[in-house]
């Protein structure tokens, strides 16, 4: 079993499937009178939250408690940069307390990676900056599987502010690992650069790298002493040569349509209406209307017209398709209230499934027996 869950990329298909299967077992507990398992008795799980997120914290807390772990909630909001204790000092404190697992929510991307280098216990990423939220992806995959019976071959459209969304990144990685086909939909300003390569699960599909031994010096360069002595000097991107080549920037996509997702990365479309008829799942991302101040889109009204899911668009979906949202929703912005409350919406289920998925993660990471 893996030790940390920092990114959905930490999970291969086998491990991810094991977590989903375990979550299904955990879910049967919810129907019982006594909802607790003794598995993690005597183990300590710390919820280290540098951002307010009551829903996520409560979900993790419930998951740990149902496994009989001791739970310590450590809210460190506002004590980030200049004032208060550094993340490293906090890590050393948690280490001294003997934390077996630390669940961390943090506004800076990569904070769980840093934490994992300072503590012996397992680190679970509960959302870091604009990077990832892997347990959200697990509960989403669990929800899709229980509604639609499979993940392999499933066509999933993820719609909205992909650029700033940790939910989108984790979902793309996990769903690709599990065989689903993901299409990212949104205005071009909110789709990250080079997303097909960047979020391809297959590292070999990513861009160009320096080759070990590659030197610039011509014949007098000593063999083997070049950039290649530096095993970490590897890099993707830029399959083309110099930057004059526009193909270096941005995704290679079919305007208005669904791009071919070469190499297992997601496809991209700017046209929601054309994607809906071929989607089994539509996942709407939260879009903050403040983004219009940074010119990502002109107005909330225009965003909603072009990318919001209303009843008219809902009817373009196949009969069986479901509508998901990680919450919290901006009703009327990315999703119309009647869509959110329709029978196709899984939004309430997602919350319940969150506890089961997080139980499975803690159970497996901590080697529950």
């Amino acid at each position: 079993m893996i030790k940390h869950l920092r990114s959905a990329a930490d999970l291969d298909a086998e491990t991810a499937t094991l977590i989903l299967d375990t979550a299904a077992e955990m879910a049967t507990l919810a129907g019982r009178e006594v909802k607790k398992l003794p598995t993690l008795r005597g183990r300590t799980v710390v919820n280290l939250f540098y951002e307010d997120s009551t829903r996520t914290r409560i979900s993790f807390e419930a998951a740990a408690k149902r496994l009989s772990a001791d739970v310590i909630n450590f809210s460190a909001k506002g004590s980030s940069v200049s004032k208060g204790e550094s993340l490293k000092d906090t890590a050393l404190t948690l280490q001294a307390m003997g934390a077996d697992a630390v669940v961390i929510r943090h506004p800076a991307s990569g904070a769980p990676h840093r934490l994992a280098s300072w503590v012996d216990g397992s680190v679970v990423n509960a959302g870091d900056g604009t990077h990832e939220h892997p347990t959200q992806a697990l509960l989403d995959a669990y929800t899709m599987r229980s509604r639609l019976g499979r993940l392999d071959g499933l066509r999933v459209a993820i719609v909205g502010d992909v650029l700033h969304s940790r939910v989108a990144r984790s979902n793309v990685l996990l769903l690709s690992t599990l065989g689903a086909q993901v299409t990212l939909v949104g205005p071009p300003t909110l789709i990250p650069i080079d997303v097909a390569a960047g979020l391809s699960g297959d590292a070999s599909r990513r861009g160009d790298r320096l080759v070990p031994g590659e030197a610039a010096g011509g014949p007098s360069a000593p063999a083997g002493s070049a950039g290649g002595d530096e095993p970490r000097a590897v890099s993707p991107a830029a399959i083309a040569g110099l930057s004059g080549d526009a193909s270096r920037r941005g995704d290679r996509l079919v305007p208005g349509g669904v791009a071919g997702a070469a190499g297992g990365g997601p496809a991209v479309s700017y046209d929601l209406d054309s994607v809906l008829p071929d989607s089994d799942v539509v996942m709407m991302l939260r879009v903050q209307s403040e983004r219009m101040q940074d010119s990502y889109f002109p107005s909330a009204r225009e965003y909603s017209r072009r990318y919001g899911l209303d009843m008219r668009r809902l009817r373009r979906l196949p009969e069986h398709a479901i509508v998901m949202h990680p919450g919290p929703m901006n009703r009327g912005m990315e999703i119309a209230p009647e869509v959110a409350d329709s029978p196709r919406s899984t939004i309430v289920e997602q919350v319940a499934n969150g506890v089961s998925a997080r139980m499975a993660v803690l159970y497996l990471l901590l080697g529950g027996k």
């Binding site: 080079d194 790298r209 610039a216 590897v234």
Partner: protein
């Protein structure tokens, strides 16, 4: 003054010979009695290295580096002169501050510390600093830079370029369009997309360089471009040079060797401004250095205290120490092309900075004995705790690099012997 004879030394890779140093200069007569003999068999002599871009942090952040500790690190890296950037606290934007830095450099006495003056008051980008007063001060400032910040206002940049013509000054631009890099953390591309770190587009650098070469051309001024990091910047410079624009450019050792993939660890030791770029950028920079489109390797030595790096990526300060590893990194990239290395790391930077006593011809009797002896056969695995600098933020920890600095001489006086700083 002690005389030295360096036995069996190779000048820039030429056949071994004895090199005599007397009265601070290269001599062509025998050393005479009492001369100290240095066994230099297998060593290569280079003119002392000159760094156009060093952050010495004094005044203001003496916990990270001082003029004295930075001078020691420079000498250990084979340098005999460093140009000290102006982004100190207080900012080096007056004759008083640049003279203070200059005097501290003289007191340390290990390398010539040539202060760079700020272009604008407080690096704020609003109003010109007293460039003339700094130029006529004891520090005789010739390079002006707001490094750390871009002189983004085009009218102010134009005026600065024009104004320094009166005393043959040069504006060294940190090319970064600030509106395109708000909140930026690393190179914008597939790695930033994967890591969820705000992207720093190549165009933010390229657009400013393109604008500035046009401005320099329009007013007939000298422009120097700091730490070029993208293939696109290289193309802009190539075209400008072909048109005869008086522009020079530098590249850092780390941009010649490392790529953005290193950010995957989220270890801020790899966070730097401008950011590490892609493999194709690295290749273009190497080629530009060979072609002469890029004139100089400059370290952008940027020491930082531990707490400014042992933290979350977004909260860390950008920068890497570089003085002690610059030559080994360049050797690993270019191989033993000594003539080219001497040009890019000593002569060209000495010319740009107007440092007449540096970058001399070691084969000519009478040249200042300002040189460094390198053992190209040695290999060193970088251990941050071995660094002479006060700070430890090297991206090369655990990396084995070719070449070792055995000795450095400044005007005939050793500053480094047997790989150790003499004082």
């Amino acid at each position: 003054m002690t005389a030295y004879v360096m036995k069996g030394v190779s000048l820039l890779g030429a056949a071994p010979r004895d090199l005599v140093v007397r009265d601070g200069r290269i001599a062509d007569e025998p050393p005479g009695a009492g001369a100290e003999v240095i066994d230099a068999a297998g060593l290569v002599a280079l003119p002392g290295l000159v760094d156009l871009h060093t952050h010495l942090r004094e005044p203001g952040r003496e916990d990270a580096e001082t003029v004295e500790t930075g001078s020691r690190a420079a000498a250990a890296g084979g340098y005999t002169a460093v140009c000290a950037m102006a982004n100190t606290s207080p900012v080096a934007d007056t004759a008083g501050v640049v003279e203070q830095v200059w005097r501290l450099g003289r007191e340390a006495g290990l390398v010539d510390v040539q202060p760079i003056g700020a272009v604008t008051v407080g690096l704020a980008g609003r109003q010109l600093a007293e460039l003339g007063a700094m130029a006529t001060s004891a520090a005789q400032v010739r390079i002006f830079s707001d490094d750390g910040h871009c002189v983004a206002d085009p009218r102010l940049m134009r005026r600065a370029l024009e104004y320094v013509k009166a005393f043959d000054g040069v504006i060294a631009q940190h090319a970064e369009e600030p509106r395109l890099t708000e909140g930026a953390q690393m190179h914008e591309g597939e790695v930033s997309t994967r890591l969820g770190l705000t992207g720093w587009p190549a165009v933010a650098e390229e657009a400013i360089i393109a604008r500035d070469v046009l401005l320099a051309e329009h007013v007939g001024s000298r422009l120097h471009v700091c730490h070029v990091s993208t293939a696109g910047s290289v193309e802009v410079l190539r075209q400008a040079k072909a048109r005869g624009v008086r522009v020079t450019a530098e590249v850092t050792p780390h941009h010649l060797l490392l790529t953005d993939e290193l950010a995957t660890s989220y270890d801020p030791v790899y966070k730097v401004n401008p950011p590490l770029r892609t493999a194709s950028d690295v290749r273009a920079l190497r080629q530009a250095l060979i072609d002469g489109v890029i004139d100089v390797v400059a370290t952008d030595h940027a020491p930082h205290a531990v707490e400014d790096k042992e933290c979350e990526w977004a909260y860390a300060r950008p920068g890497m120490v570089g003085l002690e590893t610059a030559l080994p990194v360049v050797l690993s990239v270019l191989g033993e092309q000594w003539e080219l290395i001497a040009e890019r790391m000593s002569r060209a930077p000495a010319r740009i900075a107007g440092l007449a006593g540096h970058g001399g011809d070691l084969a000519a009797a009478g040249s200042p004995a300002t040189l460094t002896l390198v053992d190209p056969a040695a290999r060193r695995t970088v251990d941050p705790s071995d660094l002479v600098s006060r700070s430890r933020n090297t991206p090369y920890a655990g990396t084995t690099l070719p070449g070792r600095i055995v000795a450095t001489f400044l005007r005939g006086e050793p500053t480094v012997l047997d790989g150790k700083v003499v004082r």
